[in-house]
């Protein structure tokens, strides 16, 4: 998609600099002249929204780290009293950060489901997709460690449950758990290393985002019709102003939701138990992770064997990386794949259902439903995708992006007339 830069600096200084470091040319070819398919819908604004959220999390996080004290005795009060009350606008920064994590995941999930729906993982975008899966995994690790930092009772319980997973590994499990904790249980050393890693990982995420954007700009964007760009002049528009204005509009609508959370329901997504300080002797009656990890928590609890549960938990993420080779259908977009589209929505419902089950107290009946849903989750990838690749009767795809857009406009005109 990206050829040699067509950027010509206008000023003498610009020409002097460009011949020594063609940075402006890179920006120009990546974010101004870069051709984007003209049929993109608003599902394609979530890449920009995610970039914004990553920067917002890093900026608010750096400010919070200036006031946070990573010690088992001080962490809780430094968050709930110093930051929330004494630091100027500390409450605002903290609510931005804690709710920002949730919205980061919300945007991430929409972005991922969009990729699954429109077949954005298919050739030539397999590497782009796998980098995305790595980013998702890093996000989960970062969010988990961030949730431990306020050192409330749910932070403590969450840290205990998740780090205890390693003890399921045969022979070396307990040693690994002790190594992770820096002691014989979750405690001060665990908190300190989680703080250190929680500060480090976002920058690694940023690096992978760089690779993600790079890979995207090599392969070019997928689009709702899933046909590749054939004629740049007819099928694409320039990134600026066409994609930029849509991204900024999508972002500003997303920010309305973000602001609603920050200013009006800031505690809605936070667990009340985390307003009690961590106490190894008083575990919350009902340990639950944040909403964005609930589906995996449901799977973990659905499996009776601890080791199998951990394997299933990680397999649920790892399976995503193999999607490009599980779904071999030559048609990308679910728009032209009626059966895949049906199973896609069943899959979405299963993920939401697993999330709900993860939030509930485990009972026999719910465990059974969780097992069925866990099976459904894996069946979508391991059975439905390969089978549909060869058996599905797809609808005819448009010959080009321009044709798809023009037919739509024509139909709309006929309908309006």
């Amino acid at each position: 998609m990206s050829g040699p830069s067509t950027y010509v600096p206008k000023s003498a200084i610009g020409r002097w600099f460009e011949s020594r470091l063609p940075m402006m040319g890179l920006v120009h070819s990546s974010f101004i002249a870069y051709p984007v398919p003209r049929n993109l819908n608003y599902m394609w604004t979530f890449g920009a929204i995610l970039s914004f959220m990553l920067v917002a999390q890093i900026v608010t996080g750096i400010v919070l780290a200036m006031h946070y004290v990573p010690s088992a005795s001080e962490a809780f009060s430094s968050v709930n009293f110093r930051i929330m009350r004494d630091v100027n606008y500390g409450w605002l920064i903290r609510y931005m950060h804690s709710n920002g994590a949730s919205l980061f995941f919300l945007a991430g999930y929409i972005h991922m489901f969009r990729g699954l729906y429109y077949g954005s993982f298919k050739p030539p975008r397999e590497v782009l997709w796998i980098i995305g899966v790595i980013i998702y995994f890093l996000m989960m690790a970062t969010a988990f460690m961030g949730y431990v930092l306020p050192w409330g009772s749910m932070s403590f319980a969450g840290a205990t449950v998740i780090t205890n997973l390693t003890s399921a590994i045969p022979i070396v499990g307990n040693s690994i758990a002790h190594w992770l904790w820096g002691g014989f249980a979750v405690g001060g050393p665990t908190l300190n290393r989680f703080f250190s890693l929680h500060y480090l990982l976002p920058f690694i995420i940023a690096a992978f985002v760089g690779l993600h954007v790079w890979a995207l700009h090599v392969a070019g964007q997928n689009n709702p019709d899933g046909v590749e760009v054939k004629d740049v002049a007819r099928d694409t528009v320039a990134f600026t102003p066409y994609a930029t204005i849509k991204d900024v509009l999508g972002l500003s609508v997303f920010l309305i939701l973000y602001a609603w959370l920050i200013f009006y329901i800031p505690n809605y997504l936070l667990d009340a138990d985390n307003s009690n300080p961590a106490n190894p002797l008083a575990t919350p009656a009902h340990v639950v992770p944040e909403w964005y990890l609930l589906p995996f928590y449901a799977m973990l609890r659905a499996i009776p064997s601890k080791l199998m549960g951990v394997i299933v938990l990680f397999a649920a993420i790892v399976v995503l990386a193999f999607v490009p080779w599980l779904d071999r259908s030559p048609v990308k977009s679910a728009k032209y794949r009626p059966s895949y589209r049906f199973f896609f929505w069943v899959f979405v419902a299963i993920c939401i259902g697993l999330g709900y089950l993860g939030s509930q107290e485990p009972t026999e009946g719910l465990a059974l439903i969780a097992r069925i849903f866990t099976f459904g989750y894996f069946a979508f990838f391991l059975i439905i995708m390969p089978v549909l690749s060869f058996t599905e009767k797809t609808k005819p795809i448009p010959t080009s992006i321009a044709d798809a857009v023009l037919t739509k406009t024509k139909t709309a005109a006929v309908a309006a007339g």
């Binding site: 204005i245 509009l249 200013f263 009006y264 505690n267 009340a272 419902a349 089950l357």
Partner: protein
């Protein structure tokens, strides 16, 4: 159209499966009533704390709750914007009635006591210098009240928890409702530790307050219901003292974002005009 039908079907199937589980759960919890949802001056988009109510609530805390419960906030917060609205002088006078141990020793190396200043944390109850002492007396240490209103919750269940996030229906006062419910939930006169709303009904705190226990100076009737309302409002403020400022800034941010998004929408339409 077909897409909508398919997805609706898929979601309906999942909803049906979950509904069965839900009904089973609802039956399990029938005997444990949820705290009634009350009207608070600080609920909703424009809700703010009622100064007079917070002052009464502080009076209830000082005369009743503080016998056993700590409230680890500095005195100075009592005069902060959006709160009970005491004047700086009132807070200074109030603080001076407490004795605190100085953090640093004096020139001779002696630890000494002095009258509190507004910068000091409100001291713990004298009778219980630490949690262990309180636990020895009650079986369980009375929790610090500074964040209590944010630390209490009850299960809302599906679909209510979804509505709780929506504009106009938003529900952030669960802790206040819970505190009010507990204080008015001692409905078995022969058992002072039986509470209608406490999970399992057996609560470590014996009925702490009854009609007429506190003398209000502003003419508010000295009823248990009023005490429960006022202390719940006061503790909500103690847990979330920036609520008034937060909503005030929030309104401006919302207005800006709506105007900004509208302008961008029209700009986008203009830019894309030819491309469709």
């Amino acid at each position: 159209m077909i897409r909508v039908k398919f997805s609706a079907f898929a979601i309906a199937v999942t909803a049906l499966v979950s509904a069965g589980a839900l009904a089973a759960m609802a039956q399990e919890e029938a005997e444990q009533p949820n705290p009634p949802r009350l009207n608070w001056t600080f609920s909703g988009m424009f809700g703010i704390y009622d100064k007079a109510q917070l002052q009464r609530g502080f009076q209830v805390y000082k005369e009743v709750c503080s016998t056993c419960h700590a409230l680890s906030i500095p005195f100075r917060e009592l005069s902060d914007f959006g709160g009970p609205g005491f004047t700086d002088d009132q807070v200074k006078t109030l603080a001076a009635t407490y004795q605190v141990t100085n953090a640093e020793p004096n020139d001779k190396g002696e630890i000494f006591k002095r009258p509190a200043t507004p910068a000091d944390i409100i001291p713990r109850p004298e009778a219980y210098p630490n949690d262990q002492a309180a636990a020895a007396a009650f079986g369980k240490a009375p929790p610090d009240m500074a964040l209590l209103a944010k630390a209490l919750k009850y299960e809302r269940g599906f679909p209510w928890f979804v509505f709780d996030a929506l504009p106009g229906l938003e529900y952030q006062e669960m802790g206040a409702d819970y505190i009010h419910a507990i204080l008015t939930g001692y409905t078995k006169p022969d058992d002072p530790q039986w509470n209608l709303y406490f999970p399992g009904h057996k609560i470590a705190m014996p009925q702490p307050i009854t009609n007429g226990a506190v003398d209000y100076k502003d003419g508010t009737p000295p009823t248990l219901d009023n005490y429960a309302n006022d202390i719940a409002a006061f503790l909500s403020w103690a847990a979330e003292p920036n609520l008034v400022e937060r909503k005030r800034i929030g309104l401006r941010v919302m207005i800006f974002l709506f105007v900004f998004a509208a302008l961008l929408y029209f700009t986008k339409k203009r830019i894309w005009e030819w491309a469709h």
